[in-house]
Subunit: 172 residues, 2 copies
Amino acid sequence: MSYYDESIPQLTKMLRNLSAWLDVATAHAEARGFDPEILLSSRLVPDQWPLSRQIQASCDAAKFIAARLSDTSAPEHPDDESTLDELRARIASTCAYLEGFSAADLEGAGELELFLPFLQGGSVMAPDYLREFALPNFYFHVTTAYAILRHNGVSLGKQAYIGSMNIKPPPG
Amino acid sequence: MSYYDESIPQLTKMLRNLSAWLDVATAHAEARGFDPEILLSSRLVPDQWPLSRQIQASCDAAKFIAARLSDTSAPEHPDDESTLDELRARIASTCAYLEGFSAADLEGAGELELFLPFLQGGSVMAPDYLREFALPNFYFHVTTAYAILRHNGVSLGKQAYIGSMNIKPPPG
């Protein structure tokens, strides 16, 4: 068991799934004859972030897990993407960043005490941060992005959400 | 690190959060003068499960993690809940079931090979099942339940989603 196995490969895969959903969304929009970029401002409720911001938040959630569990600084992103292609590039750059980490980089996470901005002087141990906040938050934004696309008629299913799995095929 | 710490306490807490969202939804419906049970048949898209089924699926996802990682049989649930109170009871009974597990029960998960119905004769190691399928699936249904409530005007925020965290307060 390692904090790396618990987080990085799965974060990378889910971000790649998210990027693939955008491709399905683009094909859907083209088939229906509307501009796919319109989807980026779609929301489920007026006081919840639109699709574009859900994608940025998914990337940030993944980036901060890698940075904080390895006790390094995350690269800054100004969240200025305004097109599907720019958001695809943001996802790809986050995946490349995640792939720069190895299990050894996160080995010390168990002893790391994190003083995060939103804890107002308080702290949380890195494993609790991962399990109680960061992973749930990552899945929150990824699933909300998925929900916005589904709500707008994009055809996605559980297989597209889960993506590939490390499955051993039946014998024979 | 343990598979227990990676799953059971967090699953239990998220299910309790979900139950609390139902209380907020009930208060919202009463304030607006509509029957809160109406929310149970609400969906984000016609071909996605309604709120009631998202709650049942959240409970099942948690239950199967505990059962499969401990190599035991999960209790059966016929998914016959049709009221908010019955769904609250389903959540409470799932939480009680999860609380019956200890870290020792999941100690052997690393060596467990799981032959799951949907793998059609294939298998997956229990840690891969947990990280690649079961946790993402759990968060999918919990977040979709949250999204359905938000879409119907129920006032929830990230704090209600995340719930309590193991935070060390600032000194002094």
